[in-house]
């Protein structure tokens, strides 16, 4: 009897272990709504519509117009920064560069940095910055746009707070989130780009996201 119990316990542990190794899935952030559609037979079906990043049109570091098509079917990391920022941006980009180095040869991964300094960070400035950071490649897009468009995109869509502030050291304040976007333009994670442990988490989550089946 005792033996049977022992075996049962072992079997239980194995089952537990198996359930733990089940595929991990990242949450999907943002508001969602239910859409009711009718199929050909008139049966009602409920679909969940997730929040997605809307289309945009900005100039990149090569002064070429870039739309969301450049990020089609890519997983990408997005952030908001400006080149003359001497506080958190260098840390964010030092950390983002380690992610870039890890996924350099991965065609499914891209990087996108929006500047919030619409006065000074013209494409030529972004180009120089990208070169000096060692990231002037098509895989990492540095985008310039008008204040209204970029700030709206940051706050309404990427959920990152950005603001002009004359009392701040460099004239702007913003949050240092690195936002992880999936192939369906949905937000799957946001990580504090100034903390190495959170950036490590992003790398782990990136692998989970890349392994995800559509």
């Amino acid at each position: 009897m005792k033996k049977i119990l022992g075996y049962a316990a072992i079997a239980g542990f194995i089952a537990l272990g198996a359930s733990c190794t089940q595929e991990k899935k990242l949450p999907i952030y943002g508001d969602r709504e239910a859409k009711i559609t009718k199929d050909a037979n008139g049966n009602e079906k409920i679909d969940t519509v997730y929040k997605t990043i809307p289309n945009f049109k900005f100039l990149n570091q090569d002064s070429i117009e870039v739309t969301q098509d450049a990020f089609k079917n890519k997983v990408y990391v997005a952030d908001f920064f400006f080149t003359s920022c001497s506080t958190i941006c260098p840390i964010m980009h030092r950390n983002m560069k380690t992610i870039f180095d890890k996924y350099k040869d991965n065609r499914d991964v891209m990087f996108l940095s929006h500047t919030i300094d619409f006065k000074y960070d013209k494409p030529s400035v972004l180009k120089k910055y990208a070169q000096k950071l060692g990231a002037d490649v098509p895989q990492w897009q540095f985008l310039y746009g008008s204040k209204e468009e970029v700030y709206k995109l940051a706050e309404k869509d990427y959920l990152v707070a950005v603001q002009e502030d004359s009392s701040a050291t460099d004239g702007y304040i913003h949050q240092g989130w690195l936002v992880l976007i999936d192939k369906h333009k949905r937000i799957r994670g946001a990580y504090d780009g100034t903390k190495t442990e959170e950036v490590e988490k992003l790398k782990t989550d990136m692998d989970i996201l890349l392994a995800e089946k559509d």
Binding site: I88, P90, K132, L133, G134, T169
Partner: protein
């Protein structure tokens, strides 16, 4: 026997006293180093890196010990007033602007300079706040 113990205690005490005297400057140095490290982490590390490695070509590394040695009198000016001129470091030109740290006092500048010039493979010894005050007079 008793004499031996008394003598050894006596000479031991003298030895300890001498030893303590010698390390007074070392204690001062250690104080500068530890305060300097705090300032470095709060104000410098974001651009120059945890190990003074710099950031691409945006911020130069602090490991060019010859540059630091030959520009030692200018370091206080660099920190206090920022830098807006090209610099040759490890044979490479860096020309990004460095912000000014006006709010740092002479003692802060002395401590952070001691930390930088005695870390990351540098070993340039002590640099007092009196020297900082003196060096700041000749900033251009």
């Amino acid at each position: 026997m008793r004499k031996i113990i008394v003598y050894s205690l006596f000479f031991g005490a003298i030895a300890i006293a001498i030893n303590a005297c010698q390390s007074a400057s070392e204690i001062e140095m250690a104080k500068y180093m530890s305060n300097g490290k705090d300032i470095y982490q709060a104000r410098c590390q974001n651009c120059h890196g945890e190990n003074g490695e710099g950031l691409g070509e945006l911020a130069p590394p602090l490991t060019d010990t010859i540059f630091l040695k030959s520009n030692k009198q200018k370091l206080a000016c660099y920190i206090k007033n920022g830098v807006n001129e090209p610099m040759q470091i490890h044979g490479k030109t860096y020309q990004e602007k460095m912000p000014a740290f006006k709010d740092l006092h002479d003692i802060d500048i002395a401590q952070v300079t001691v930390y930088i010039t005695n870390s990351f493979g540098n070993r340039h010894g002590m640099y007092t706040y009196e020297q900082v005050a003196n060096d700041l007079k000749s900033c251009n």
